[in-house]
């Protein structure tokens, strides 16, 4: 039996106002939606291209964030080395920087005339901006910190005695990671991945600054909304609805599985 805890009235009122703050934009969107036209709008080339790009790029960005972010988080949580706190600040920087700033930094580093981009281009002919890889890189840069921060915190809170026990049972370092550490931080890891994906999915400022804006190649859903807003508001609202539905769907789908307290 769970005991109901009663909150003071002031708390309830403030919470209600907060809730309204979240609900109002959604209500505005729903009332403005051109419901009869929505199916047509949503199957137009612009929207389908943007949807495809958004899904592909956000999923790749999430995968890359996991691939590099998990090891980074493990190092930050467990390894002792000089400059660790500086490194952590660096990793968390994209969380506080305006995305446009991140995009500009990417342009000057990885752009065709960028510090690294130029030699890369000369050596391999690879151009990162104006391609889907530009989108992926921009999304990964702004989203990975979410994964790192979640995993680092989870690993720090892990009691080392379990990994110690696994070691005495014969598990090597890699096996301990795979069979004990990662499963034990499972819920946090999943929440982190979800957050990371959501950030990547909604990324705008860095994308438009670094990757540019071209339908079918770099125009993700947020960019499509921005452009549509100026010429065809109905399309803008329709795309916004798509994004809201997808985001809500993912949140609802994963809510019970991963956020149930152990």
């Amino acid at each position: 039996m769970t005991r109901r805890r009663r909150n003071p009235l002031g708390v309830v009122i403030l919470a209600a106002i907060g809730l309204t703050f979240f609900a109002l934009p959604l209500v505005g969107l729903l009332t403005r939606a051109p419901w009869s036209d929505v199916p047509d709008l949503l199957t137009s080339d612009i929207v389908l291209d943007a949807l495809r790009l958004s899904l592909i790029s956000s999923l790749i960005a999430t995968a890359l964030s996991a691939l590099f972010g998990i090891p980074l988080a493990l190092m930050l949580a467990r390894a002792e080395f000089p400059g660790r706190s500086v490194l952590r600040s660096l990793v968390l920087l994209p969380l506080v920087l305006p995305p446009v700033v991140a995009g500009t930094a990417l342009l000057f580093t990885l752009g065709r005339r960028g510090v690294i981009g130029e030699p890369l281009n000369e050596a391999t002919g690879l151009v990162l901006p104006f391609s889907i890889w530009g989108v992926v890189i921009a999304a990964t840069l702004v989203a990975m910190p979410f994964l790192v921060i979640t995993v680092e915190s989870a690993v720090r809170n892990l009691d080392p005695k379990f990994e110690g026990a696994a070691t005495t049972l014969g598990a090597g370092r890699w096996e301990v990671l795979r069979r004990v550490t990662l499963p034990m931080i499972g819920p946090s890891l999943a929440a982190g991945l979800l957050l990371t994906w959501a950030r990547a999915f909604g990324e705008f400022g860095a994308t438009i600054t670094f990757a540019g804006n071209l339908q079918g190649r770099t125009q993700t859903l947020p960019l499509a909304v921005f452009v549509a807003l100026e010429q065809d508001r109905d399309t803008a609202v329709a795309i916004s609805l798509v994004m809201v539905v997808i985001s809500l769907g993912v949140l609802v789908l994963l809510r019970d599985r991963w956020w149930r307290a152990r």
């Binding site: 342009l107 752009g111 901006p129 438009i208 990757a211 540019g212 452009v227 807003l229 100026e230």
Partner: protein
């Protein structure tokens, strides 16, 4: 608050200074963006006093919506091909816009600069290999300046304002010119001030500032 097309950024910056010097106590807030976005803001009820658009059709929509009584043409501009200084990709003319190997940028279609550019290309019978449609002319300019793009179509005023972009002429036959209109917005928070500002822009002094930046007289 003055909402003005982003291609007017530098010119209107000087006009702001001159106006505020002549009218102490008045503070101008400049809101620069693509003309179509500015239009959306006004249609959405933003508290704008003056609207300066780079596209007659955009202004017309605002007038049709009853949010402006009329407008005056106050300047003209011309489109040019912008390339990074030194022309690293050896762009010769408008024909090169069909070259897939070049990185080419245009303004987004919804923005006057982009609409006009596409008209020009259509007129010239060229199918452009675009790599990006920037939301406004200033961001296009930034990428050209950085050398990240090989060529783009921008305003001559932008080319003049930038030290890192040089211009290549577009033949007159393709009609690369555009008009700028200015109007007082209905329900302006400060109608008197708005009127004064418009008058200033249309005055000889205002005109002088505009031509100094490369705009043509109306």
């Amino acid at each position: 608050m003055v909402s003005a097309a982003s291609s007017l950024t530098d010119a209107f910056g000087d006009i702001e200074q001159a106006f505020e010097a002549a009218n102490p106590g008045v503070d101008i807030l400049l809101n620069m963006a693509g003309s179509s976005l500015l239009r959306e803001q006004i249609l959405g009820g933003a508290p704008v006093d003056v609207f300066a658009s780079a596209n007659p059709m955009v202004m017309q929509t605002v007038i049709d919506a009853g949010l402006a009584d009329g407008s005056a043409t106050f300047a003209g501009n011309r489109l040019q091909i912008g390339v990074p200084v030194g022309n690293p990709a050896n762009v010769a003319g408008i024909e090169d816009f069909a070259d897939e190997t070049l990185l080419i940028g245009l303004c987004a279609e919804v923005v006057p600069c982009g609409a006009l550019a596409r008209d020009i290309l259509l007129e010239a019978g060229i199918e452009p290999a675009i790599d990006t449609s920037e939301p406004d002319v200033r961001s296009l300019l930034t990428k050209l300046e950085a050398g990240e793009l090989d060529a783009g179509i921008v305003y001559v005023t932008d080319v003049i304002a930038s030290e890192e972009v040089i211009g290549i002429e577009i033949p007159d036959a393709l009609d690369p010119v555009t008009e700028y209109l200015i109007a007082v917005v209905a329900d302006a928070p400060n109608p008197t001030g708005a009127g004064d500002f418009v008058a200033f822009v249309l005055s000889p002094e205002g005109r002088q500032i505009l031509t100094a930046h490369g705009f043509t007289a109306p």
